[in-house]
Amino acid sequence: MNRLFLLALLGATLCAAATAQRSDFALKSDFEDRYRQISSHLDSAETTQEIESLKGEIVKLETDYAPHQQFLDRALYPLTFTESIAKLRSLQVLTYDRVYLIRTQGVKLSELEARLNSLTTRLDSLTAQRDQLFGELQESRKSLTALREAVKRLSANLAAKDRLIFAIADTIFLPYGKDLHQVADLQKEAIGQRLEKTNVLTRVYEIAADNVKFLDVTQLQGKDYGNLIEQYQAFTARWAGLKEKITDVAATSAMVPTGSTGKGSAKTPVARGGVKEIRTASATATVEAAHVDSVLAEWHARLNTGFWGGLQKEFTTAGITVAAFNDGPSFSSSVRQYVAALAASKQDPQPFVETLWKQKIDKEWREGLSKDAMLGRTEYAALDKLVSELSRETIDMTFMAYIAGILVIAALIWLMVFRKRKRPEQPPPATAV
């Protein structure tokens, strides 16, 4: 027993001596060799099980060299120790994803990446075009035709960008199926990395902000709003779906420590740093998502203000005073009040019915008003009927007056003719013989 203890003590002393006298260069080289070995295994791995097992190797590498982190941070070049481990982890996640996609979905990662690259390039070129179009919009204020053309092109540009950004998001998420809850944590990490690489959240924010700017700098007409409302609603709905997925991915990243093997991770300072890093990335995603929400709220507010303000201006321009409105219910109430007042008074409803309602509101604003988010199709139809009836009452009264006039004239004629016929024949005057 004593001998065993002595041997153990000797071993420990030798180990300590060996550690104490280890060459820094050898330490660095050993780390680099093990790093290269794992990296090379990852490159040649063909099954997800193989890659899963290499995760443990990465954790072991990190744990073994964590006591030398300070030295390795300086000695390794150009990456530090922490960056090297993070790079290896990222490689492991991407490799897992690559193998998984090929094996389960038949999708090649290279094809996915190529599609993402093509979409982001198209989006970037549209962004460049957008800047030019905003410039043209400023210049073309003098001519109404040129202004309308610039508005049309800018609006089309923004709509194309909306479609592209969500096409990018779809490209990232679609290979994993509809139910993200069934996707493994490693895939979620891969999705998270791809979202970060393509800058999806920032791009969504920029596009929403572009739309706000567009509403700010453009004088819109009633007929423009139909498309704009549709565009906003589609964007909001798509964003809601995307946000849910992003939150899911971010929550997974926050829950899974980078150094975890699933069997209890080594709590080295580096491992703790890794968790912190991922938590920070997840927090960043949450903050960015909140920014998108706030710019969408702004977009909604501008759209509403522009729409209802523009509609109110139509009333003012036509010289018709109605109670102020700023949403569907208040607009409906104002119109109903005005129609009731008009019907009760002896005023001529024609300026309101013909000039304002039929020529302006029904022609230019109906599409926008019919949207559920504004007034709704049913309520618009009800208001239209109400206004039409006001017009019909007027027509009936005139018609009745005409009929009455005609009847009076007919009666007079008849009386004259009748009296003429009924006049008794005068006996011939007596002649003196």
Partner: protein
């Protein structure tokens, strides 16, 4: 009047020149975190890629082995201390050479004798303010730019 201007200008110029020449940046740390293992080429050159240092070592081979071609293919250990001296040694060396940088040259500061039979597999570690020399498990020496500070065998 001109004389007065000259009298004023000359001390001003001297003061300016003096202030320029006395400019000195302190607390500079030249130390490399880890030594470079450099292979001597057939042209007797060594090159460190990370720090972009190249040197011709025929003179060193002549000095240590009395043969200017003795170092061909040898792996030398090069480390810059925090003070800015270059420490250079290698297998079979009996000395650690300490150089200070000069204009396009390394000037020998001191050749510190470290082994009577020659080192087998030496390594240099940065242990500010010293440089540590290891050779196998049982050879451990701390060096300054001038001498050996501590030996453990």
């Amino acid at each position: 009047m001109i004389r007065l201007v000259k009298i004023c200008l000359v001390p001003a110029a001297l003061l300016l020149m003096a202030s320029c020449s006395s400019l000195k940046l302190d607390l500079v740390d030249f130390g490399w975190p880890v030594e470079s293992v450099v292979t001597v080429t057939s042209a007797n050159k060594i090159e460190d890629v990370r720090y972009s240092v190249t040197a011709w070592v025929a003179g060193l081979a002549q000095e240590e082995f009395q043969d200017s071609t003795a170092l061909h293919g040898a792996k030398l250990r090069l480390l810059r201390s925090s003070e800015g001296y270059y420490f250079l040694t290698g297998p079979k060396f009996k000395h650690v050479y300490v150089f200070s940088p000069g204009p396009s040259s390394l000037l020998l500061n001191r050749a510190i004798p470290v082994s009577e039979v020659g080192l087998r597999n030496p390594a240099l570690n940065q242990r500010t303010p010293y440089v540590e020399l290891l050779d196998g498990d049982n050879f451990h020496t701390l060096l300054t730019s001038d001498d050996i500070v501590e030996v453990k065998k």
